[in-house]
């Protein structure tokens, strides 16, 4: 028990609202806003257009300041929104059931793997090494203390080969995790890989589960996980109307085949009928599953990403099928336009030849760092350094192009890339 208030460095007095406003404005000034014309950063987080209705509607106090919808009568609004969210995630992924969100993509993937281990009772986990390095790192942490073998499948030319999958699957394999578009932006052959896994020899009639790590924007245009044989689909929901906000809070998407429903982690909203025959919604299956299953629980998630799920719901409703398809195809065409122009520059070429969605790796004639530093002077963020991210060499740049970039923005990027090698020869 303390006799007096704590001594907190840099905080002796309470700050008035005006002071706090000043301080936060000044701290914001010390950040560069990536989300603007010159942003070509990707690697898991993307600068997509967010319709004003998303902020407007999700920002309502009735949603922001509401509690978890345990008490159904007091929470029909949130419950219905989450029910709509789940339905949308099902339609996005082509799977049967979806939960009301988990934290973000990496923990979603870890939860999916834990679920696969539980469902199959096996202990080998196959993970493509074309998966985002953060996600692979999280998987290593999650599986570290369990009696599980985590095996990374090597890529050839930036993609996984179905042969590799076939060779790696054995009787003891619980699941195969494939990301597409993968960390290099390349589109993987989910159908081939999952088919290979499903056809692998099995002892207990439980073939390895196919876990697809998807990008929800790509689902607006490309084949969906469910169409390609995935049993579980997990993904990062950030592109769906959620600002990048320095990495979080984002949104873990989680969907699965109907047969797996009872093993799904997280909250699930169901539809029901009241005494007067009117539709209503409530949390189902587990409501705080941990209370019931305790030490036998397979997941511990409680607080999820409700408000972000709401944003995604509003985003998808605003876009609709045609809007989402347009977002996805503009991403595709603009990225390909940028790639073609860059590949035509002296000294630059594309690192991989495979089909890609809205992100690609470029070999540069200079270190990627030099390009990035040059970009800072012109307020262009030309991409990510593949060596720093742990997915390539010093001279490789990972470039993402979303629908928000105009032809002029792309021209400015190309111009930057063209100048950097020359400028480096002239000492400033």
């Amino acid at each position: 028990r303390l006799d007096q208030p704590l001594e907190m460095p840099g905080l002796d007095q309470p700050r008035s609202e005006l002071q706090l406003h000043r301080d936060l404005t000044e701290l914001a000034r010390q950040n560069r806003q990536a989300a603007q014309a010159g942003c070509f950063l990707g690697g898991g987080g993307y600068d997509h257009f967010i319709p004003a209705a998303v902020d407007y509607l999700a920002g309502q106090g009735a949603f922001v300041t509401a509690y978890t919808p345990y008490q159904a009568e007091a929470s029909q609004g949130a419950l219905q929104a989450f029910f709509e969210f789940q339905t949308q995630v099902c339609r996005l992924t082509g799977l049967d059931v979806a939960n009301a969100s988990v934290y973000e993509a990496a923990t979603a993937t870890a939860e999916a793997v834990m679920m696969a281990l539980h469902v199959t009772g096996k202990r080998r986990v196959l993970v493509a090494n074309t998966i985002h390095p953060h996600i692979r790192a999280v998987l290593r942490t999650y599986l570290a203390d369990l009696a599980v073998d985590l095996i990374e499948l090597p890529a050839a030319a930036g993609r996984i080969d179905t042969e590799t999958v076939r060779d790696a699957c054995d009787q003891d394999t619980a699941c195969l995790v494939i990301q597409s578009p993968n960390v290099y932006g390349l589109i993987e052959d989910w159908s081939g890989h999952f088919a290979a896994a499903h056809q692998s020899p099995t002892s207990n009639h439980k073939p390895p589960l196919g876990i697809a790590l998807f990008n929800p924007i790509a689902c607006g245009l490309l084949k969906r996980p469910g169409d390609c044989g995935a049993d579980i689909a997990v993904g990062e929901g950030q592109p769906l109307g959620i600002p990048m906000q320095y990495g979080g809070p984002w949104l873990g998407l989680f969907a699965a085949r109907k047969t797996l429903m009872r093993k799904m982690p997280g909250r699930l909203v169901g539809q029901t009928i009241d005494r007067r025959g009117r539709r209503g919604f409530c949390l189902t299956l587990q409501t705080r599953e941990q209370h019931i299953r305790g030490a036998k629980a397979t997941s511990n998630i409680c607080t999820n990403q409700g408000l972000l799920a709401l944003r995604a719901t509003i985003y998808l409703s605003a876009m609709g099928p045609h809007g989402l398809r347009e977002v996805a195809s503009q991403c595709y065409h603009k990225a390909h336009h940028a790639a073609a122009q860059i590949a035509a520059l002296d000294g630059y070429d594309l690192a991989y030849a495979g089909p890609f969605f809205h992100e690609f790796v470029v070999n540069c004639p200079v270190p990627a760092r030099a390009v990035i530093d040059a970009g800072r002077q012109r307020n262009i963020l030309p991409g990510l350094d593949c060596a720093e991210l742990g997915i390539g060499t010093e001279n490789q740049l990972l470039i993402a192009v979303t629908e928000k970039r105009s032809a002029a923005d792309i021209d400015a990027l190309v111009d930057l890339l063209q100048r950097v090698p020359a400028d480096r020869n002239v000492p400033v």
Partner: protein, 444 residues
């Protein structure tokens, strides 16, 4: 004034609008089209809603109107402390130079947010009375998980504890369900410790602690709203046996600034920023679950860690010119770390609001939050105790509660009234009902 609603009054978003309707649009494509192989493309468009902007706005405005919230209603919840969410924090978090930040931006371009995260790290350590903090975990349960990983790494470290046999984690029978669930996820063996009079039964505890015990997880003030004054005895029992004491910080609201977990023997703990530090609950999330640890556990904290370069080494001013190292940075180089527990930097947008809440209160303000919460809860318990039994509350024998209390409405139950009836009647009065049947049966 209201009609009784029918399904048609509350359609799903899928049941609104008309084919072809859209609530937003993009400029026409301004680059040439690239080749798009047919076999990559989905066969049919997705079955998403097709609504105009007015339908969209009306729909989610109507849903909002059918939801309780702190802005409109009182929530007498304990552990899940529902705090007022200051509009300033929402406005600041919405500044484009916060929301528009990519997580892999250069540290030099992120000095503002990194400073916030670093200061928050230091403040949370100070409030805990512990040495280092990781801001990585996404929520309380994720904090528990991360902490258990840290504990395990410590016991497995040949240069440190080197006692890999310690696989047992004790939890009281009043523990929140996430505690054993987190243990299970980490492969630990969960052992339940019985309670006596709402507190941990010390004799039982002594019998259960042994050289295979890694730690005990305890919530204090506990889920029955009682501050367990034997906490230092509990710590001693564990420490004597070489085990650690973990605090589930869900109820920190009742003690922040008044006493420090580090002072009563806690080695490691988590916070729930969405409970203790007023980050909005958002219909169930997002939250953040920073963990605080003693120095000997610090090497195992997850990466990245936000760090500050000693002044003189490099100042921010020099850094912005691109000629030096930035003052604040993300450190990935922690060889003993348990690794990553999530992608990127953490729940930055949540942590920013947490920083603002603490900064607004200052040290003295934090202290009065706890003092007021305890005072108000005891006031309410005292007013209710003649009609509703308060098993753990009796001012005549100086048994007070912390910031929440348990009540068993025995008289009413005997008359056939159920807890659900009480809950629904509270909803009638636009008060959110408290947690029911937990931690003891037939309680509120």
């Amino acid at each position: 004034m209201h009609q009784s609603p029918t399904n048609a009054d509350f359609p799903l978003i899928f049941e609104r609008g008309a084919p072809g309707a859209r609530a937003t649009d993009l400029p026409p494509l301004d680059v040439p089209k690239a080749d798009l192989p047919d076999d990559l493309v989905a066969d049919a468009p997705l079955a998403l809603p097709e609504v105009g902007q007015l339908d969209l706005v009306r729909h989610y405005t109507h849903l909002a109107a059918r939801n309780f919230s702190v802005d409109a209603n009182f929530y007498p919840l304990g552990s899940c402390t529902m705090k007022f969410n200051p509009p300033l924090n929402e406005a600041a978090a919405a500044l484009p130079r916060f929301t528009g930040m990519h997580p892999l931006q250069d540290d030099r371009d992120a000095q503002g947010i990194l400073k916030i995260l670093y200061q928050l790290r230091i403040w949370l350590a100070t409030i805990a009375g512990l040495d280092e903090v990781s801001l990585q975990p996404c929520a309380g349960a994720h904090g528990e998980f991360t902490a258990l990983k840290v504990i395990r790494a410590y016991f497995h470290d040949p240069d440190a504890a080197n006692q890999p046999q310690r696989r047992k984690v004790l939890t009281p029978d009043t523990a929140h369900g996430t505690n054993p669930a987190s243990c299970a996820m980490c492969g630990a063996d969960v052992v339940t410790v019985p309670s006596k009079d709402g507190l941990v039964d010390l004799d039982a505890l002594r019998k259960l602690v042994d050289d295979e015990t890694a730690a005990m997880m305890i919530t204090n003030p506990n889920t029955a709203g009682l501050f367990d004054h034997t906490i230092t005895d509990i710590a001693k029992i564990l420490h004597d046996a070489g085990a650690l004491l973990y605090l589930d910080g869900a109820n920190m609201n009742a003690i922040i600034g008044v006493c420090r977990p580090g002072d009563f023997g806690v080695d490691i703990m988590h916070y729930n920023t969405h409970k203790t530090f007023s980050t909005p609950h958002g219909c169930g999330g997002p939250g953040a679950g920073p963990i605080a640890v003693r120095q000997f556990l610090a090497p195992y904290l997850p990466v990245p860690q936000v760090e500050k370069r000693a002044t003189g080494q490099a100042s921010y001013k020099a850094a912005t010119g691109g000629r030096g190292l930035p003052e604040y940075f993300l450190d990935h180089d922690r060889p003993k770390s348990i690794g990553r527990v999530r992608s990127f930097v953490g729940q930055s947008g949540v942590l920013l609001r947490c920083w603002a809440y603490i900064a607004a209160l200052g040290p003295q303000g934090l202290r009065s939050v706890a003092q007021n919460a305890v005072l108000n809860a005891n006031y309410l318990a005292a007013r209710l105790r003649h009609r509703y039994a308060t098993p753990y509350f009796d001012p005549d024998t100086s048994r007070f509660c912390a910031h929440e209390f348990v009540t068993v409405p025995k008289d009413l139950l005997d008359k056939g009234v159920t807890l659900i009836d009480i809950a629904k009647r509270l909803v009638d009065y636009r008060i959110h009902p408290p947690t029911m049947h937990w931690p003891v049966h037939d309680c509120l």
